[in-house]
């Protein structure tokens, strides 16, 4: 099979990147193999586990189900880009409330949580559990993830009270 390469340009974690790639390359492989951003993990091949979740123009997507060329011109945020000068409240929440054990699903779980909170800053426990439906975690039993998201929500509303600005993922 001859390799036909195509050029793709996107913004990843605030930086513009351009690469020549095969059109069939998945976004997750683009991030991991081309850009070396190995924080995004591949946990399955049927879009169930959510370990590969990233933000694509602010929306949570499973990067194993998006072709890199579909992200042409888009802004992608991976776990490596979630923090600014300080940890993101979701990272703080997961750390404080033991929202991770082996850590493998964690980047995807945190990106999912960041998206959830960007849409619904004050979710109920039920909404959090529903919102995590696209995340499979084999270690935690989920309850500590729920608490982590609650903690993140509390930190974010504290921050917005003091700064008057809503923090987004």
């Amino acid at each position: 099979m001859p390799e036909v390469l195509t050029t793709v340009t996107m913004t990843v974690n605030g930086q513009s990147v351009t690469r020549s790639i095969e059109p069939r390359v998945l976004l997750v492989h683009f991030l991991r193999e081309e850009l070396g951003l190995t924080g995004t993990h591949v946990g399955c091949d049927t879009s169930q586990c959510g370990a590969c979740t990233v933000l694509l123009d602010g929306e949570a997507v499973k990067s194993c189900t998006v072709l890199a060329v579909q992200a042409q011109g888009s802004a992608v945020t991976t776990i490596e880009g979630l923090e600014g000068t300080r940890l993101h409240p979701v990272q703080e929440g997961f750390w404080a409330k033991h929202g991770l054990q082996c850590g493998f699903c964690t980047p995807g779980a945190m990106m999912t949580a960041a998206y959830l909170l960007s849409q619904n800053p004050h979710p109920t426990e039920e909404e959090i559990r529903e919102g995590l439906d696209g995340v499979v975690c084999r270690c935690t039993g989920y309850e500590t993830i729920v608490r982590s998201v609650q903690q993140a929500a509390a930190l974010m509303s504290e921050a917005s009270e003091t700064s008057g600005a809503e923090e987004v993922g």
């Binding site: 951003l37 946990g43 935690t140 039993g141 989920y142």
Partner: protein, 782 residues
Amino acid sequence: MPQVMGQALKRHEDIRLIRGRGQYTDDMTLPGMVYAKMVRSPYAHAKILSVDTQAAQAMPGVLAVFTGQDTKDELGLIPTAWIPPNSDLKMTPHPALAFDTVRYVGDAVAVVIAETPYQAQDAADQVQVQYQPLEAVVHPREAVEDGRPQVHEEIDHNIAFHWTVGPDLDAVFQQAEVVVRHEFRQQRLIPNAMEPRAALAQYNNATDELTVWVTTQNPHIHRFLLSGILGIPEHKLRVVAIDVGGGFGSKIACYPDEVVASWAARKLHRPVKWTETRQENFLITSHGRDHVQEVELAGTRDGQIQAIRVKAYSNLGAYLSTAGPGVPTILFGLIINGAYNIPHASADVYGVVTNTTPVDAYRGAGRPEATYLIERMVDLYAREIQMDPVAVREKNLVQAEAFPYTNPFGLQYDSGNYQGTLKIALDMLDYPKLREEQAALRKDGKYIGIGWSTYVEMCGLGPSEVAGAVGFQGGLWESATVRVHPTGKVTVFTGASPHGQGEETTFAQIVGQELGIPVDDIEIVHGDTARISMGWGTYGSRTTAVGGGAIHLATQKVIEKAKKIAAHKLEVSESDVVFEDGMFSVSGVPDRQVSFQAVTLDAYLAWSLPEGVEPALEGTAFYDPKNFTYPFGAHVAVVSVDPDTGDIHLMRYIAVDDIGNIINPMIVEGQIHGGLVQGIGQALYEGAEYDAEGQLLTGSLLDYAMPKARFFPRFETAHTVTPSPHNPLGVKGVGETGAIASTPAIVNAVMDALHPFGIRDLPMPLTPEKVWQAIQQNQGGR
């Protein structure tokens, strides 16, 4: 110096993991790295007629295609490492690449090595294999019947071993007032650690050394086995596992894939990476459980259990996996009496090979199978004699004053107060009131059920003498080196290999407490055979009990030496020196003191050391525990069942556990939660299904029901603390308790809810369809 043992410190390992900086095997990249893709059998049982690699060889980027013919004379067979005594175990020769016969779907027949993963996949699709399909066997009890196809020529009736323990109990059963008989299907489960398995092998042709990064729970066992299979001596072989994304037993075994990647790396002089897909993980990474159990319980009419016995057919899959044979024998048969003082017990286990994925340890490994059996039988017995299941438990639990308690097979339960945990669970639940509510609800056509599980398990695996006696082909001690650097910072090297359990934090808490230094000054190193002399790894809830024990002893050696140097510095005799909170002081003269850090620097400068004391400061210990440890507890589930849909709703779950001393309660709670969800997953959702041809029907996360966040209420946990006398930290282990205790609690609760329908038992998982069908068939009993 604040107390750090017992504190819910945030985890040290999280600092990298929450920032996407973990180093899982597949995250590694090396210059010149190429990719391996396996060609796997689509048949469960077939002769290989031919393998044509020509088309694949010609594909872009392909470096090589190897078949079983290429590897069979260069690679040893993959062995099992557990040979239960007196079981007449027959080996199942397992070549890394099959060259003659394939024995399960996923058995590898060839490997493609290419420049990119996509090229390797493309070329693997072009390898043409001709098979002659053979009849398959799948079910463990059917596999032993006459006339069934044999998985291995040399294994008659597919019985790889027959292991028995305990005396003939026919007389006891004949004379018993009550005998309850039941057959349980302990279904096959798929561990599904979220990180797929991976291996990256690099050969250094200057030093003739091979380094293998691999997803393993036990790097030194991997090195030991790989050394034999590859023919590379251990001092030329390094196995590394930095971050491992969960294991649950499935990363204990040595698999063909890492063998082939290692062999190819040496052959091609290029680093070779192999990473499984999730669908491969379903097919080739070891499964768990899979028993048929014929169980009998004998007792009196007033609730005294006299005997328990089981005949079990344990499905081990196509080949005996690394720890496979130990799971349904030693880790199962020896503890079927559970937490009860039952005078007579026996187990009769057939280890059966079938055309299915090899079966090995999965969270709890043998003990969930035993606990389910006894906890369900206690409930069936209670029904039979019309006693409350709690009353039967209270009557038969080992009494607090009976410890150390020797069970019918000679296991010595270390310590406990089993009634104590039950009492707390009863109070948390308000049991009598809930029974009243249940009765009232039934009148309204609403069905709730209460299910108990008062469990004990054995873990903290060691000592080595016992390992040898039970046929484990390794030791079960652990090593630790506590190296204090000149500035007083500390690196700890442990032979345990945590992969999510948080020991980078809990081990630092042990050392920090004992040395009186901040935990941030301590780094825990694990998972590298080049940095750690030896170790036996992380499984069987042994890491803190055994690995932590070694760290404690190594730390004490450091303190012992430092005290000598401190005494010299303070110009007093060693016996006059007190060490507390990181300060050495003269007994009775507290202001004459010197810090641990100052003593450390002295040890390294070595300008003035006491007679006979060597420079530097580090301690190494090799710790073999006295015995297993026995965590225990009382769990209770409350469920409601919708008779119109068969849907089960988990309303409450209470877990009262005694795991001995607790080092980090936050991590302990996390371990319990994780175990609960896996155990509840077995009861309600999970189950691997094969068709008669040996095709795995539940071969992806689309088809295999993994527990999700929305399935669960908040768990209610509580503890009692009974230190284990079998190790210096007094810990018992917590990694597996949840998975062991919860499955029968849930099923007991559902059967309690379904009692008005005359339903006595249903096979797991208790799907709504199964429950609804059973209700339909039993409507008359309503």
